[in-house]
Symmetry: C2
Subunit: 282 residues, 2 copies
C-alpha cells in the first residue's frame, strides 16, 4: 500500500509555524491582513473565500472582503485595487479569477502591486518565479506541491520529475520551482507523444492536467511519488483528482488523496504569503 501524503499533516505543521510568526508580528504592532477581492457571487469563489478566511483567522491573520456586483464595470475594480495598493494596512490581496469576460484580466492583474500579489498573478511575481528571484509570490497551488514534497522529506536534487500540465498557475511555475531545487523536470502536456511512457520513467509524477482521472496505472511505475493537483467532480458527483486513485495507488510508493491533498494545503500557503508580505512591509 502506498504512503498517503495527507494535506492536513502539512497544514497542521504550517499552522504551528504561522502562529509563532504572527505572534511576532502582532508584538510589533503589525496585524498581517489579506484583502479578498471577488466580483459576483460564484459558488466556488465563495466556498474558497470561506475556507481561506477560516484558515487566516485561525492564526490571527485578518481578512477584509471586497465584493463587487457581477456586472461591475472594469473601472470600479481598478479603483478598488488601487485603493488596496495604497492601503498600508493590507499586506496581500487575492483576486478571484476568471473575471467577467468583458474585463481585461491581464491588465487588471498587473494593477495589483507585486508586493501584495500573494497568489502570483502579476508579471513581477511571474518573472520572480521564472528567474528564481524574490519578487512578489509564486502561485499558491504550485507552492503547495513544493510544500508537500518538502514536508514528507522527498529529495528533489537530481530526481527525474514529470509535470503534466503547463498552466501559469501550476505547471509552469511548479516546473521552475522544482528545477530551482535541482530536479530534472520534463514538462508534459496534451501534445506530448507517448505520455504514459514519459510519466512512467519519472521518479516523481505531478499531475495538473485539469481533467478528471486522466492518469491511470499505465502512467505509473513502482517506487514513484504521485502528486495529484486536480480537483474535479466525477460522473457520480464526487470530488476526484486528475489521477484515478484506486487504479494508481497499488502501484506507486506514495500518493496525495483528493480531496485532502494539494487543495488542502493551498490556503495555508496563502496564509504563509500574507505573513511574508507583512514581514517584507516592515
Amino acid at each position: 500500500m502506498a504512503k498517503l501524503l495527507e494535506g492536513r499533516e502539512v497544514t497542521a505543521a504550517l499552522k504551528t509555524k504561522h502562529q509563532t510568526e504572527v505572534d511576532g508580528l502582532l508584538s510589533k504592532g503589525i496585524t498581517p491582513t489579506l484583502g479578498i477581492i471577488r466580483v459576483g457571487e460564484k459558488e466556488d469563489d465563495i466556498a474558497y473565500e470561506r475556507g481561506a478566511t477560516k484558515r487566516c483567522e485561525a492564526v490571527n491573520v485578518a481578512v477584509k472582503h471586497f465584493v463587487l456586483a457581477s456586472d461591475a464595470v472594469q473601472e470600479e475594480l481598478i479603483e478598488l485595487i488601487d485603493g488596496i495598493n495604497a492601503d498600508a494596512l493590507i499586506h496581500g490581496a487575492l483576486l478571484f479569477r476568471p473575471l467577467p469576460k468583458y474585463m481585461s484580466e491581464d491588465k487588471i492583474c498587473n494593477i495589483l502591486s507585486t508586493r501584495k500579489d500573494v497568489d502570483g498573478i502579476t508579471d513581477g511575481s511571474l518573472a520572480g518565479v521564472f528567474a528564481g528571484r524574490t519578487r512578489g509570490f509564486a502561485p499558491c497551488t504550485a507552492q503547495a506541491c513544493m510544500e508537500i514534497l518538502d514536508h514528507f522529506g522527498v529529495e528533489l536534487k537530481g530526481k527525474r520529475v514529470a509535470v503534466v500540465g503547463r498552466s501559469l498557475v501550476v505547471g509552469k511555475p511548479l516546473s521552475m520551482m522544482l528545477m530551482g531545487k535541482n530536479a530534472t523536470v520534463t514538462m508534459c502536456h496534451t501534445k506530448t507523444a507517448d505520455l504514459p511512457a514519459v510519466c512512467r520513467s519519472a521518479e516523481i509524477l505531478i499531475v495538473a492536467a485539469g481533467r478528471a482521472k486522466v492518469i491511470d496505472k499505465s502512467f505509473c511505475s513502482p517506487g514513484q511519488i504521485l502528486i495529484d493537483v486536480g480537483i474535479n467532480v466525477d460522473e457520480k458527483g464526487n470530488i476526484c483528482g486528475d489521477v484515478d486513485f484506486e487504479d494508481c495507488e497499488p502501484v506507486v510508493d506514495a500518493i496525495t488523496p483528493v480531496p485532502g491533498g494539494v487543495g488542502t494545503v493551498t490556503t495555508s500557503i496563502l496564509v504563509e504569503h500574507v505573513i511574508e508580505a507583512a514581514r517584507r512591509s516592515i
Copy 2:
C-alpha cells in the same frame, strides 16, 4: 554525414525579410533605431557591438552608441537609460552585461522600458516569455535557436527536446518557447543524474552549458538534431562550442557548427526585435 545547420543561411533569409520590413517603416517616416549601452571597454563587448552595428546598418536600422567610463557611477547609467526610455526616436536598447560589480544589475535592467527591451532583460520581457504573452522580447540567443529550428523545418510538436543549461538568457526562456511550440521539454543541468542517457533519449538536443566540449558522442543518438549554443575558446586558442563537434557529428542527423551557428543568428534576431519594437511604437 550530418546536415550542417549553418547560421549564415538563416541570417541571409532574415536579412531579405528585414530589408522589406525596414523599407515599409522608412516609407512611413520611421527609422528603426537601436541604442547600444556599454560601460567600459571590454573586448568582447566591443566585438559584439561592431558585429551588431554592421548587421543593423546593412538593413538600414540605425544605431546610436552610448558609452560610459568603466568607473561610471550607477546614477549616470540610470540617467542614460531614463533618457533612452524617453527618446521616441530610439526603439530598442541593448545593455552589455555583466555590469561593474558595484552596480545593481537587477535594478538597472528593470529601469529599461519593457517596450524597448530587445534582449529580454526586464521582468516584463521575462514574464512575457514565461507566460507566452506579448510583452517586450525574448533574449536574442534563445530566439536564435528557435529561428534555426524553424528555418530548417524542424517540427517541434510532440518532440522530445532536452535543453542542457538553465540560464535566464538561454536555457529557461528557450524551454518555454519550445513548449510554446508543443515540444516536450526536459530541462537539464549540472545536477541532472545520468545526463548522457537523458540527452540520448531526446530527438532534439540543445546545449547551452557554457563549458567547452562537455558534450561528446556518449550524449548523442542517431537521428538526433543537435544545437550548440556555446561559444568558448579551447586549449589551442580556437573558438569552439559546448559540443565536441568532431566526436558528435558522425552520430547525429544534423548539427550547428561553432563558429557559424547560433552565434551568427543572434545579432539578426536583435535586428528583428528592433524592427518589431519600431512597428509596435506606431
